[in-house]
Amino acid sequence: MTAAYWLTQLLNALQYSMLLFVLSVGLTVVFGLMNFVNLAHGTFYALGAFIGWSLLRATGSFWLALVGAPLLVAAIAAVLYGAMIARMQRAGHLAQVLATLGLVFMGVEVMRIIWGDFALDFAAPPLLQGHVQLFGLVYPAYRLFVIALGLLAMVALWLLLERTALGAMVRAAVDHADMAAALGVRVDRLFFGMFCFGCALAALAGVVAAPIFSVYPGMGIEILIPTLIVVVVGGLGSLKGAVAGSLLVGFVDTFGQVLLPQLAGIVVYALLALTLLLRPQGLFPARA
C-alpha cells in the first residue's frame, strides 16, 4: 500500500467526518441548549436533500439549492416548533424520543408521497464535477469541497459560540438556563432560534451529501444512527464533543472498513459500546 493510498483513505475519512459534523452539531446543540432529544434530525437531513433536489431542478443552480433548502427546512422546523416541539420541551427524554420517532415514521411516508420511491439524481455543480490531482493522487473535487465546507462550519461555529454575544448567551443558557433567564436572556427565543438553526444545518448536510449518495426517502433513517453515535460518543451538548465525535466515528468507520473488513459496520457500534462503558457521559459533555 502506497502513501497515496493512505492519504486517499485519510481524505475519505475526513470527508465523512465533516459530513457527520455538520449533521450532528445541530443535534447536539439543540440537546445541550434545550435538553431535547430529536430523533427526527435525520428526517430534516433527508428533507433538505429532497427540497434541494426540487430547487436544483427548478432553478438549475446547485448553489441556490445549497442556500435555499436549509432556509426552507428552517421554516418547516419553525412551524413544527410551534406545533409540537415547544410543548414537548419539559416532557422528558422518553416522550421526546417517542414523539420524534413518530415524526421519523411520518416523514418517510410524506417524502415517499411527494417525491416517490425512486432514488433521485443530484448533480454536483459543474465547477466541482471533476477530480483534482494533488501530490500524485487523484481525488474528487466535490469531496474536497465537502471537507472545506465542514472545516469552515467548524470555525464559524466556534467563532459564533466563543466570540459573539449571541454565543455567550447560548453558553450561559446551556450551563444555567434559569440564571440566564434571570439575567434577561430570552431563553425561549434562543431555543426557537437554535432549533431552527440546527435543522437548517441538517438540511445543509442533506444537500451536501446528495451529489455523493443520491436522494431517497430512507436516507434520513440511515444517517440517524451514525449521527446519534457521534453525539453520544462526543458528549451531549458541546461543540468540542461534536468535533471529536465526528472525527472519531468518521475515522474509525473508514479505517475499520479498510483494516478489518470482516468487522465492517460493527466497529462503530463497538466504539459506542466502549465509550458508554468507560465514559458514560461521552468524551466532552457540556454539563458534567
Partner: protein
C-alpha cells in the same frame, strides 16, 4: 405496584384472553395468522414493559433478544436437528445470557445513554447476523419446524390450534410477569424506577436489579422470538433490526407502559392497524407515526391510560355525592389515583 393490583388490569387481561380464544375459534385463516402475530408481539412487548414500565429502562434494542431466541431455536432445529424442547431451552438460555451481558454493559448508562447503548447492541447483532453466511445472512433460515405435539392430540400445523396455544402462552407470560412484579424483586424494580436515590439510601444497590431485570426481560423477548420462529417457520435478520425494536416499543407505549396488560393491548392494536391500514394504503407508517405522537401528547399513558380515565370519569359522574362526604374511601382513592402521573412516558406532558 398500584396498577398491578388494579382490578381494571385483571379485567382487561381476561377480556383480551377471551377475545383471543374466541377469535382463534371463529376467525378466518388470515385472522388466525394475525392473532398469532399479535400474541408474539404481546409477549415481546410485555417483556419490554418489565424494563420500560417499572425500572424505566427504555430499551431500543429488544430485537437483539427476540432475534437470538428465534435464531437459537431455528439453528438448533433446522440446522442441527435438535428436538424442539432442547431447542427451546437453548434459545432461552442464549437470550438470557444476552440479557445478562447487555444488562452488565449498560448498568451505568441512564436515560438517553441507555437508549443509545441498547440501540447499539441491537444493531451489532443485526450487522453480525446479516454478515454471517452460516446463518443464511440476509436471506435468513427456512425450514424451522413447529413442535410435534401429536402425542397430546394437538396438531400445531393447524392455524387455529397454533393461535390458541400462542394466546394461552401470552396469558401465561402475563401471569408470570405479574407475579414477578408483585414479588420483593418486582417491588424493588418499581422503587428503582421511581426514586433511585432513595433506593440507594435504603442500602439497595440498583445495579444487580437492573441486570436481573434485563436478563428476565431478554429471556421473555427470546421466548417471543422462539414463537415467532415457530409461527413463520422461518427466521430473518429483520428481527434484530432497530426499527423492529422501535415497533415493539411503540406497541408498549401505545398500549400504556407500567401496566403489563397495556403493552399486550398495544401489540394487538398495532398489528391489527397494520393489516387494516396496509389494506388500503401503502403509507401505513404515516398512521403509526401519528398515533405515536398522539399517544405521547395525551400523556403517554396509552390505551390503558384512556381506559383508566374513562373509569375515573364514570365513577366521578356516578358517585359525585358519596365522594363529597367521604374523601378517604375507596372510590375517592381510585379517583385521585387516576389523576396522578403514571409510570408513563410524559412526565409533565399533561402540564
Amino acid at each position: 405496584m398500584l396498577r398491578l393490583f388494579d382490578p381494571l388490569r385483571t379485567l382487561l387481561a381476561l377480556l383480551l384472553l377471551l377475545a383471543g380464544l374466541w377469535w382463534a375459534r371463529t376467525g378466518d385463516y388470515f385472522g388466525r395468522e394475525i392473532l398469532a402475530e399479535m400474541a408474539v408481539f404481546a409477549i415481546a412487548a410485555m417483556g419490554l414493559d418489565l424494563l420500560a414500565g417499572f425500572p424505566r429502562l427504555v430499551s431500543m434494542g429488544h430485537g437483539l433478544f427476540v432475534g437470538i431466541g428465534a435464531y437459537g431455536y431455528a439453528v438448533a432445529t433446522a440446522l442441527w436437528g435438535w428436538s424442539w424442547p432442547a431447542a427451546i431451552l437453548l434459545a432461552l438460555a442464549l437470550s438470557a445470557l444476552a440479557g445478562l451481558l447487555v444488562g452488565l454493559a449498560t448498568v451505568r448508562a441512564r436515560d438517553v445513554f441507555y437508549i443509545m447503548a441498547t440501540l447499539a447492541f441491537g444493531q451489532m447483532g443485526y450487522v453480525w447476523v446479516v454478515r454471517s453466511a452460516e446463518l443464511g445472512g440476509d436471506d435468513g433460515l427456512a425450514g424451522v419446524p413447529r413442535p410435534e405435539l401429536a402425542a397430546l392430540g394437538l396438531d400445531l400445523g393447524d392455524s387455529a390450534t397454533f393461535a390458541t396455544l400462542l394466546v394461552l402462552l401470552a396469558a401465561a407470560v402475563y401471569l408470570l410477569l405479574g407475579r414477578l412484579l408483585a414479588s420483593g424483586f418486582g417491588r424493588t424494580l418499581v422503587a428503582i424506577g421511581q426514586n433511585e436515590r432513595r433506593v440507594r439510601a435504603l442500602g439497595i444497590a440498583p445495579g444487580p436489579y437492573r441486570v436481573a431485570a434485563t436478563t428476565v426481560s431478554g429471556t421473555v423477548a427470546g421466548f417471543a422470538g422462539v414463537l415467532a420462529a415457530m409461527h413463520s417457520m422461518y427466521v430473518s435478520p429483520e428481527l434484530f433490526h432497530w426499527t423492529w425494536s422501535g415497533e415493539v416499543l411503540t406497541m408498549a407505549i401505545l398500549g400504556g407502559v407500567g401496566s403489563l396488560v397495556g403493552p399486550a393491548l398495544g401489540a394487538a392494536a398495532v398489528v391489527w392497524l397494520k393489516y387494516a391500514v396496509s389494506g388500503w394504503t401503502e403509507y401505513w407508517g404515516l398512521f403509526l407515526g401519528l398515533f405515536l405522537i398522539l399517544a405521547v401528547w395525551t400523556g403517554g399513558q396509552g390505551l390503558y391510560g384512556y381506559l383508566e380515565r374513562l373509569r375515573a370519569w364514570l365513577l366521578r359522574t356516578l358517585t359525585r355525592q358519596e365522594e363529597a362526604d367521604a374523601r378517604g374511601d375507596r372510590t375517592g382513592q381510585t379517583l385521585r389515583r387516576s389523576h396522578r402521573h403514571r409510570p408513563g412516558v410524559a412526565a409533565g406532558g399533561e402540564g
